[in-house]
Symmetry: C2
Subunit: 397 residues, 2 copies
């Protein structure tokens, strides 16, 4: 186990109807004016935004609203939010939505007190020194941003889309209000995308070269088992509170790093996927469903026993002690079968991606065959990434 | 899953040699004067206390030292600490030790700004309104107090020992410094007591009437599996860093309530045991090893399938689908075999307790056959508790 310094002080308020008290929670922290960030679609139509805003009013907190966050959120709206937050003297951000909304709010919270361009932080040109606090009313269990220290924002620079993440303590939400009922109306496809995203967050941590991380291995495996059990229920019975609640809590645990401490993490698949969703505007979860099994296939021989452990403990495959590689492969096949069952795509064609674009994806990824690489479990240079994209492109069920 | 409000903002600094930087961590929070609480035995002989104090000095933090905390910590020393902290103007508590030391520090931290008797908080007569911050250098993985909101203190009142716990946000440590190497010299018996305590913390949460808590079930089971795998290694190879590290992190996860959210918890066994350790001054873990299997035996029929799930997922027992009770019982037998293997006692005789004292234990417990009871999984009145104590007294290997 590696040394670590873990600090995730988010307060989680979880359960039936808790969003109706958002204002009173915010009041506990002495806030006066919220910048409420939302997608403005589900949140508005469902009446959620109105309910949250009226809870702010009841608590004597005024607010200004910024709507229109889209999936794979863009820097444009962040700039708009920074301006609005400054001119309206907002003293905290309230994100009402899923990962894209929360990440937009986090970026605005960093940008308001910063004199330069907030995207400097995402380009690694500058380090945040302060930020407003961000609170969350979660509507989509997927990105885990409600408990994580990370945010991902896209910006067009010189005609190219740059999609970058930033991890820092300022990004950890102050409190997150989580009512599983808010996810009853999530369509099956979006539910499945969320499920795939949270599984990927765990697997990025699970596949590691760090030895003797048994506690976190077991926690990862337990979360995966639970997600695999609850996802099909949530998809076939969208208003099953228990399934929705288990998925929602699993999504937070998957990415607040409680399962990732003390171990090297990989994250190649996320970077490989980010290029897909930047180029085709495909849902992040769907892109991950295509890329993760391909990555696993490519990396399997790096540590057959770890993939075998995954197969046995997560998918209940019987261990083949003579030929562990068979078990390892059966685990990847079981993952693909599960993803297919919940309606996820498994190859390029199914997400409208084209193998001819692979060189472009590789350019966007920006790794070469020498110094720059993706991933820590297996260091992937350009030619490796090319092979993984090809595996993903060519996979046939 | 039940609604919950979860807030555990402790920062965990974990790994080789991190205790040597305790001072610089404390300095980040602006502290000027520490009241350093310790048992004064291991911490002193091993040079740990001197190293921690010199790290405080290097960081420009002065300190005053309170030594002599004993297992099952007493109120006397808390009063002494409150006086010392006030007269020396300490602005934070630094606990260097295990659960007893940490709990003593937490109680002092509550008592310093309080005008009345701090034990009022533990008797439920008064609620804490403020407290000094407590930081920790952990030396014994067991009580989980380094990440929990609870503290347990004993006080003699009218000739009787009253052992009470208090859970509140003020009890959550600010930061905990955790170096597994500090536990290399823990004797096998004490290691095993700690292991039993952390397993009990998980099982008190695991045996619940709350339905559909799959995520936390799986996390509990994963932690238990990992403890069961690592404990025998730590006992036979005391300086095995990996085993010690996994146990140390598992002990924190077992009790910071990350595995207990959204579910009714039981805690009868802890209360049954507290009377044993109050009357005989037996180690809490040893008392739990005697009481937990007895409690399980008594409660088995309340929910056979939950005990069967425990047996299958934690101890790898094959499910008997025709007679699940067999599986459930095999799980309890496996737990006893494990506890025996790590050197734990399994009945009254082995801890110097006497079945003749059962009426006295029941009086101390203070439950009756009508309104007052212990436990939530099964509500235990006096006659139930009597039967459980008898099972524990009479168990023969």
């Amino acid at each position: 186990m590696n040394n670590f310094d873990f600090y995730r002080p988010t307060r989680y308020i979880f359960g039936h109807g808790c969003e109706n008290d958002t204002g009173s929670y915010a009041k506990e922290y002495g806030f006066k004016k919220a910048l409420v960030v939302s997608g403005g679609n589900f949140a508005k139509r469902s009446g959620l935004l109105a309910r949250v805003c009226s809870s702010l009013e009841r608590a004597g907190i005024s607010y200004v609203s910024l709507e229109g966050v889209k999936p794979n959120p863009r820097a444009d709206l962040v700039y708009k939010g920074i301006e609005l937050g400054r001119s309206e003297n907002a003293d905290f951000l309230l994100a009402v939505g899923g990962g894209s909304v929360i990440d937009t709010a986090k970026a605005i919270a960093l940008g308001i007190p910063y004199e330069g361009d907030f995207f400097d932080f995402f380009l690694g040109k500058s380090k945040p020194q302060k930020a407003l606090k961000t609170a969350v009313v979660l509507t989509i269990p997927a990105a885990g941003s409600e408990g994580s220290n990370s945010a991902v924002i896209e910006k067009e620079i010189n005609g190219n889309i740059v999609k970058n993440g930033l991890g820092c303590d300022f990004n950890v939400p102050l409190f997150s209000v989580m009512d599983p009922e808010l996810t009853f109306t999530l369509p099956a496809y979006q539910t499945a995308c969320g499920v795939t995203d949270m599984m990927a967050h765990i697997m990025e941590r699970y596949f590691t070269n760090t030895q003797n991380v048994d506690v976190t291995d077991r926690m990862c495996e337990g979360l995966l088992c639970s997600i695999i059990a609850n996802a099909p229920v949530a998809i076939t019975e969208p208003d099953n509170y228990s399934a929705r609640a288990n998925l929602m809590w699993a999504g937070t645990m998957a990415h607040n790093n409680i399962c990732g401490v003390g171990r090297e993490q990989d994250w190649a698949t996320h970077h490989l996927e980010h290029q897909l969703s930047a180029l085709y505007d495909v849902a992040h979860g769907a892109g991950l469903a295509v890329m993760f099994p391909a990555w696993m296939e490519y990396c399997l021989r790096h540590d057959v026993m770890r993939f075998a452990q995954f197969a046995v403990r997560v998918f209940g495959i019987s261990m083949d002690y003579e030929k562990p590689e068979r078990t390892a492969k059966a685990g990847i096949a079981a993952l693909r079968a599960f993803l297919k069952r919940i309606g996820m795509p498994l190859n390029f064609e199914q997400i409208g991606a084209h193998s001819e674009d692979i060189p472009k994806l590789l350019d966007m990824l920006g790794v070469d065959d020498h110094e720059r690489f993706e991933g820590h479990f297996v260091k992937l240079h350009r030619s490796d990434c090319e092979k993984i994209y090809k595996l993903a492109a060519e996979y046939r069920d």
